[in-house]
Symmetry: C2
Subunit: 142 residues, 2 copies
DNA sequence: CCGCTTTCTGGAACAAATCAAGTCTTGACT
DNA sequence: AGTCAAGACTTGATTTGTTCCAGAAAGCGG
């Protein structure tokens, strides 16, 4: 995705186009599942000095606008990704916390419906697969 | 579950039986999906003075022993529950963060298997349904 | 009952995230 | 082009959730 596309995306969502936000979006496009701290460092590489607060603000604004999605598996810090709308899921390594995408077989949210919703109005089913990544599985086997 | 049962559970897991641990387990039995801070307050109600550190230690020890399960939906603090082994899932209210249990139709982990596991060795599929609880749905409608 | 080991206590430290006040920038409207 | 208000950014402090540490206390096998 080019810088112009990113700018267009921002405008369409009614957000102002700023150097910081473009940088955040670009970084997330290039590095999915990035935690906040890494986003801050990457943003500074491509956009020079940016306060951590600006990154936090940008991430929240982008999340509210639906341009990025926030995920937070148990035991991890918040991570962000730009793949939204396709209702895909994640597989997380118990050992090293690596995350990989898993396409949803159904595709549309909610792809699953619970047996008993307890009166809740459910709009999304988020699936997290837990296991070991290839590297950690190999290390554990030896 | 009685106090004696709780003690037995601890012993079977090779953990020492302490007033603090019994209190933590009992509190979790009575109040599922409780966050750490609430656990601390409840434990102090039933067991008198207990340091917050003891509660953190107990929660970690119990989690490692498999007696309690830690869940942490995006945007929430860590919560704990005693239902383990039946691979049930959760429905979370986007508005008030209330949590309810949802029985798994399959029952055994992993109840789902991804289309492409990327080489990961998957042992569990955790499903979180997102939506609005009955109270918040009613409030939103009015 | 004794002593070893684990656990608990109390305090401090730490990291992640949020809040607050003031300054600067964007983009719409003369 | 110039002005202006809403919104974004910066700096720095604060809150929140969690962990680390050293010494005291308690559980449990002998």
């Amino acid at each position: 995705m080019s810088g112009a596309d990113v700018e267009e995306q921002l405008r369409e969502s009614g957000l102002r186009v700023t150097r910081q936000r473009v940088a955040v979006l670009t970084v997330l496009h290039d590095h999915p599942h990035t935690d906040t701290d890494t986003v801050i460092r990457q943003v500074r590489e491509v956009a020079g000095d940016v306060s951590h607060q600006a990154v936090y603000d940008a991430l929240r604004a982008l999340t509210e606008a639906g341009l990025v999605r926030r995920i937070q598996p148990t035991g991890s810090v918040a991570r962000y990704e730009v793949r939204v709308g396709d209702n895909h899921h994640h597989v997380v390594c118990r050992s090293c916390a690596a995350i990989a995408d898993v396409d949803c077989a159904v595709g549309e949210a909610p792809c699953l419906t619970p047996s008993d919703s307890h009166g809740y109005l459910i709009d999304q089913a988020e699936v997290t697969y837990w296991g070991l990544c290839p590297e950690c599985a190999a290390a554990a086997a030896s």
